[in-house]
């Protein structure tokens, strides 16, 4: 049983972390909220007073808003579908007996450790370049006309790059989950003559349910704010301007702080909706 002295010692030990995180959360958040109600243009007159809900309505009625919502949904949705589907298949494959399992695992996980600016630039230039990229060589080899990936198929290209980065994460987590599956149950169903597809559908997939949910939620939070991949490839052109990128442009490029801050508040609300679901799962896990 903890004594009174150890309780107050514990509180003292937690204080720095709690105070720092509280400051990190409250100070910028309050400032963003404040700016979002101001007409604030640092390069064109500075703080020009209250704007009411002007910034909020202008942000959602600007012509760039809905396309950016669509772009965000397309990237997040596309990457989630690809990484979860391929991740499940890969995890099952990696769980099978084979030679050199450890090495294959390392090969599959590697992309996760590549910094975003590197993976985006490597894909952009060495694979997707319309004249010298490997894809262009491949297309020409098969007699097809090479395409300018990042301008003609900008969205699929971005989804491909980001999926490559996140597939290892999904695979690794799903593999960990599969390995915790009771192998006796699987063997029993195998002896009972259940075909592989049925085993997958009725035993493996339900067991993976929670891991898949966790992958989806965590990836969504990270994917909602991807930045570097767009920054160094298209710079937001060709329909790849996501909500995050649009806010970045409003704030740092056109220096319209009020408008950008209102956008930021929308982004925070959006992220929080996803976060609530994630926290619920994590919280449940803390209890047992």
């Amino acid at each position: 049983m903890a004594t009174k002295a150890s309780r107050s010692a514990a509180r003292l030990m937690m204080a720095p972390a709690v105070i720092l995180l509280l400051g990190w959360m409250l100070v910028p958040l309050t400032m963003t909220l404040w700016f979002s109600f101001r007409k604030y243009l640092p390069l064109r007159g500075g703080d020009l007073g209250w704007a009411g809900f002007d910034n909020y309505t202008r942000f959602v009625t600007s012509s760039a808003f809905w396309p950016s919502v669509m772009a965000t949904l397309t990237v997040v949705g596309g990457v989630l579908i690809i990484t979860v589907c391929l991740g499940v298949l890969l995890a099952i494959l990696l769980d099978q007996p084979m030679w050199g399992q450890g090495v294959v695992r390392i090969l599959v996980i590697a992309p996760f450790f590549v910094m975003p600016t590197v993976s985006a630039l490597v894909w952009k230039n060495m694979f997707m370049d319309p004249t010298n990229g490997l894809f262009a060589h491949l297309f020409k080899f098969f007699g097809a006309e090479p395409i300018a990936w990042l301008s003609q198929a900008s969205m699929p290209s971005i989804i491909m790059i980001v999926s490559w980065q996140w597939l290892p994460f999904a695979t690794l987590i799903l593999l960990t989950a599969i390995q915790s599956l009771d192998s006796e149950q699987l063997e029993a169903s195998e002896i009972d003559g259940a075909p592989p597809l049925k085993r997958f559908w009725f035993i493996i997939l339900p067991h993976l349910g929670r891991a898949i949910t966790v992958v989806i939620l965590i990836q969504t939070i990270f994917l909602l704010s991807i930045f570097a991949e767009i920054f160094v490839t298209t710079g937001g052109a060709f329909g790849t301007k996501t909500l995050t990128y649009l806010i970045f442009q409003r704030v740092l490029e056109s220096q319209n702080i009020g408008l950008g801050s209102a956008g930021g508040v929308y982004a925070i609300i959006l992220a929080n909706i996803v976060a609530i679901f994630l926290m619920r799962i994590v919280g449940k896990n803390l209890d047992n």
Binding site: W24, L29, P97, L107, M126, A177, S180, S225
Partner: protein
């Protein structure tokens, strides 16, 4: 009979898994190979995989013209600095939550996690402004602070799950033997917690090394780390594939090696204990 079927299946699994593994790894392999080619060979059609004249020229060109050492030093300083600072703040917090839990511990842990969900772009301008006011824009110290704060929840969570696994009986036994709180932490807890702390350090160095929102937006010439160094290659200048590859290889090599050591901790660290 059954055995040969099993061997066959194993051989098939092996072939398929290796093929897919190599396919996924290929962009990295291709980057490393290209870094040893001449610019001409780097874009040759048909492409060459291994049969080219290996050269180190790209590395010397990149090293010469870009002050690579400074970017590298910035990356190391920021990644290691923010991790050490984070650990110093997180260890006591995680220790107290794991061993002296109160009815609020769970809420505090979840609240800490929720700060991690705050989208960076939502607070970009306030941080930018505060950095200008404090004179730490484009400084390593500023980035150390920001990266420490964004990774602090992950550090605390990882340490918490590791500390939780240390059996409480050992602590009680030490207490019975008359160990003071200080002795308890120093001689009983620390040795048992070292592996967990080490994995936490490793994962956080990786996360800080690869962070590419704040490092791109809060630095210019002085404090820019490797993420920004690579981003400067986004506007092409003539033939540059081989040089880009050399620069990329140098930027990712250290972390690839660290990453392979930390793959097991990755799951724990990034799912906050929701998947074990």
């Amino acid at each position: 009979m059954a055995r040969s079927v099993n061997t066959q299946r194993k051989a098939l699994n092996t072939a398929v898994a290796w093929a897919i593994g190599l396919l996924i790894f290929f962009p990295i392999l291709w980057t490393i190979l290209t870094s040893f080619k001449t610019e001409g060979q780097a874009i040759s059609d048909p492409p060459v995989l291994f049969m080219f004249d290996w050269t180190l020229e790209n590395y010397s060109v990149v090293l010469e013209r870009s002050n690579y050492a400074r970017f590298l030093w910035n990356s190391i300083f920021i990644a290691v600095g923010s991790t050490i600072l984070g650990i110093i703040i997180a260890v006591p917090a995680a220790w107290s939550m794991a061993f002296v839990p109160s009815h609020r511990t769970k809420d505090i842990l979840l609240w800490m996690l929720s700060t991690k969900m705050l989208p960076a772009v939502g607070v970009l301008y306030p941080i930018y402004l505060l950095f200008i006011k404090m004179g730490i824009l484009d400084s390593r110290v500023g980035l150390v602070i920001v990266l420490m704060l964004i990774n602090l929840p992950i550090i605390i969570w990882m340490l918490y799950t590791y500390f939780k696994e240390i059996p409480g009986e050992i602590l009680e036994a030490a207490r019975m033997d008359g160990a003071s709180l200080k002795e308890e932490v120093l001689y009983v807890l620390t040795p048992m917690a070292i592996p967990g702390i080490a994995s936490t350090v490793l994962l956080n160095i990786i996360l800080a090394w690869n962070e590419a929102f704040w490092t791109l937006n809060l630095t210019a010439a002085k404090a820019a780390p490797l993420t920004a160094f690579i981003a400067s290659y986004s506007s092409p200048e003539g033939l540059f594939f081989a040089k880009l590859s050399a620069a990329s290889t140098m930027a990712i090599a250290p972390i690839l090696i660290l990453g392979w050591f930390s793959q097991k901790q990755l799951v724990r660290g990034l799912t906050f204990g929701a998947v074990k």
